[in-house]
Amino acid sequence: MDSIYDVIIIGGGPAGLAAGLYAGRARLNTLILEKDSTGGQIVITSEIENYPGGMECESGKDLTDRMVRQAKNFGAVIVSDTIVDVALEGKIKHVYGEKDSYAAKTVIIATGAKPKRMGCPGETELTGKGISYCATCDGSFFEDLEVFVVGGGDAAVEEAIYLTKFGRKVTIIHRRDALRAAKSIQEKAFANDKICFMWDTVVEEFKGDGILSSMVVKNVKTGERKEIIADEDDGTFGVFVFVGYTPMSALVGKNLEMDGGYIITDDNMRTNIPGVFAAGDIRVKSLRQVVTATADGAIAAMQADKFIENNL
């Protein structure tokens, strides 16, 4: 461990990167810690169309790569490490990684969320064997095969549209009788010949020996169960799951006030611990998008600056 930073940002997604950019610009000694690759959840999206001022037909990764360059240009340092413990109370905050330990006057928690699993039998065993949470990673496996998408929000419908590039047929399985996705996305899906719908349906079980071969679905209104079996010639089919997100607060949430795993903050991103802020999807909030994450990051950074000025 070297010097004491002004601010440590845990998480290198849009919230963390925006915080890094603003903190750097305020000439704070800024460290961003990221355990995987920078960019956060949006990097697996092939096209992001609703980030204000975003380029047309741009991938999530290209957008966040620009955020990384920007943050670095303003002096933020990005280090690859996985946080295993934190000690956030007290004047100096400590963050312990697998590779090193770090200390700072303030901490911004921007750890985000990860895709939620459905939690049904066979799901874990058959992940990567027919079940996927990443259409851009795995769509190409299912060229000319049948593909199912579970979910009814923006992600599920957008990824279903993307998957029509590969699958010969894409079926959206949704537990309700209407989609939650934005109307413009719904319109695109309904107009797409390759997409059909299984309404009021949930998946109960996945089956297969080393590779997905069938799944049991249930109609939640009638209670009727059906087993969907892979076409004999195909041998398998793809199931892409987009049913929400789980907050990544397990390790960093010690002594923080939380609600359902999400960190509670005020309008200024302040948590119940002085000098500790939260930004992005990890917060209790009504809308989780790249644009709200970056806004949070900027506010958190400026609040961290103010905190240091007033307290240290």
């Binding site: 996985t82 990673c137 795995d138 190409s140």
Partner: protein, 105 residues
């Protein structure tokens, strides 16, 4: 690190002497790209004892499915023509990969 194709997979992996690591990835798979530099670096470290290879499944789909790979990234170890161990997607962390490789040195 050796680039595999569907043509040389059998010779380079299944018929190889000693353990072979295969880094399965696809075009457009961002998590796969993020993992590559690390796999390359341990390839340099342990390349004498284990053969390090990679396969872009976008051009070898049927081969990958035949190897029970339907999602990437996957880091797999082959020995005597059989896939003996693999780390799939979220399990393919730097820590887990290095620990798995250590077993076959």
């Amino acid at each position: 690190m050796l680039d595999l194709t569907k043509e040389n997979f059998e010779d380079e992996v299944l018929k190889a002497n000693g353990p072979v690591l295969v880094d399965y990835y696809s075009d457009g798979c961002v998590p796969c790209k993020a993992l590559m530099p690390f796999v390359h670096s341990i390839g340099e470290k342990y390349g004498e004892k284990i053969k390090f290879t990679s396969l872009n499944i976008t051009k070898a789909r049927r081969l990958a499915i035949g190897q029970k790979i339907l999602g990437v990234p996957v880091i797999a170890i082959y020995k005597d023509g059989e896939k003996v161990e693999e780390l799939v997607k979220d399990d393919a962390t730097e820590k887990n990969i290095e620990a798995m490789v250590a077993k076959y040195l």
